[in-house]
Symmetry: C2
Subunit: 257 residues, 2 copies
């Protein structure tokens, strides 16, 4: 069975895209399984982070949601073995408004991904920074939810709002989706703020917090300008090591549930 | 005439809220004029950054947009002389979908702020990380646009998309709004990435980039957990100094145009 993992947090800039790119590339290398990254953010950062040229593809995820295009016709190779991408483009910015009046608007992505059957072992969906219809589509289509959380006060504040929305989705749209866990990102162990945030999150949500933590590492923010995931840009960097350790911990969790 | 400044960038986590809070508090202290901060983000970070308790107020900006409540009944004191806030709450998350079918949906905020007449000299609007109807409402209501830009690759990538949207707003909804400028944030002068980004932005948009730059400073991310703007939390910090220098540069620009 394909595991479909939404990478979600309505707080902006917490590391959703960096996590989607890094984890999907690490999974492809470590497991040899078939991986698909889905870019559901109109900014298209996940697509460009894999080196996709913005106007190189005629169709994107927008077409799968709005005019039921077969995702197999839209999927692109990333150039990395075992890893494909379902790219986004600026057209996606209009999708939220266009979906409002559609029948069964929350299930559009779920239906599109069903067409792929068991072609992929793991699918990771990079969500936009909001709890609108695109993110609801991702949560409805998913088996698991991964929550990157920046070690900052504002990011912690939004967590309760996000968990409430997940409860609503589980009650009304997708009872089978469960929280895989909370991944702490951009940790700077020199600051008290990071220590405070980690203590607070671990205290409130002990059952959800991964042991692996991603520290702040400039190589992670350099990698996208070369169109490469971190394990291809600088395999020896702290960023690559952190994401390798996390991906292994995540696989253990996935194999147990 | 009241200057209404939208603080906008669809890229998440670039410093929109931190800029709105810091600049409005610095304006209140430096000019002695009447300042209003408007929180247009369902996350409500601007409201909590001023110490507003999430459920302490019955009405918020949502009511001004959806049921035409008089903003004077919703505005709260921040406890800082000359500075009030029009707060947000989680209800605002539903506004984007609810506004879709409304008549003249892009002008809701403009109409609400008109009721305030000249009660305030400067109004700063903290926008959510998207180019949806809430941000369109802010741009339609504004006289000026301030664009915080994190010194990172993904943030630079989104700039063209943002400038295109602003052109559309100027053509169709608000010919009087103009770009006040681009403020570089979270600069880390020790990294090549920051230098590259600053060079690239200054080369492509020389007429828009402010000389003042906000460097990365942990005191800025600590301040919101105390419910205080930076000039009240730690006036001697680099963050407070950076925002003071920027606010003065911004005032010079505003007085010239
Ligand atoms: N561990 C890290 N260390 C340093 N920089 C990082 C790290 N993780 C992410 N970044 C950088 O921080 C910025 C924000 O990360 P990213 O874009 O992945 O977040 P996001 O949650 O996807 O943002 P958005 O809400 O806009 O979609 C990016 O410029 C990225 O390169
Ligand atoms: N110059 C700075 N130095 C260090 N930390 C900063 C700085 N500016 C902002 N921050 C922190 O970075 C995080 C992102 O900033 P902020 O929330 O203001 O961005 P935003 O653009 O409003 O995010 P969103 O897109 O979610 O609305 C916050 O935790 C904030 O405290
Ligand atoms: Mg992203
Ligand atoms: Mg914000």
């Amino acid at each position: 069975m394909t595991r479909i993992i939404s990478v979600v947090n309505q707080k902006g800039g917490v590391g959703k895209t960096t996590t989607t790119i890094s984890v999907s590339a690490t999974l492809a290398e470590e497991t040899g399984k078939k991986i698909l990254a889905v870019d559901l953010d109109p900014q298209g950062n996940c697509s460009s982070g894999f080196g996709m040229e913005k106007n190189a593809y005629k169709k994107c995820i927008y077409n799968c949601l709005i005019d039921d295009t077969d995702p197999n016709q839209v999927i692109q190779a990333t150039g990395i073995k075992n890893l494909d991408i379902l790219p986004a483009s600026i057209q996606l910015a209009g999708a939220e408004i266009e979906l409002v009046g559609e029948l069964s608007r929350e299930n559009k992505l779920k239906r599109a991904l069903k067409i792929l059957k068991d072609k992929y072992d793991y699918i990771l969906i990079d969500c936009p920074p909001s709890l609108g219809l695109l993110t609801v589509n991702a949560l409805t289509a998913s088996t698991d939810i991964l929550i990157p959380l920046q070690c900052e006060y504002f990011a912690l504040e939004g967590l309760t709002q996000l968990l409430n929305t997940i409860n609503l989705i589980q009650a009304d749209l997708n009872p089978d989706v469960s929280i895989l866990g909370i991944l702490l990102t951009m940790a700077d162990n020199r600051t008290n703020l990071t220590t405070q945030i980690i203590e607070e999150v671990t205290q409130h949500f002990p059952q959800h917090v991964f042991k692996s933590v991603i520290t702040r590492n400039v190589r992670l923010s350099e990698a996208p300008s070369h169109g490469l995931p971190i394990n291809h840009y600088d395999k020896k960097s702290t960023g690559a090591q952190n994401y390798l350790e996390f991906t292994r911990e995540m696989l253990t969790c996935l194999n147990q549930s």
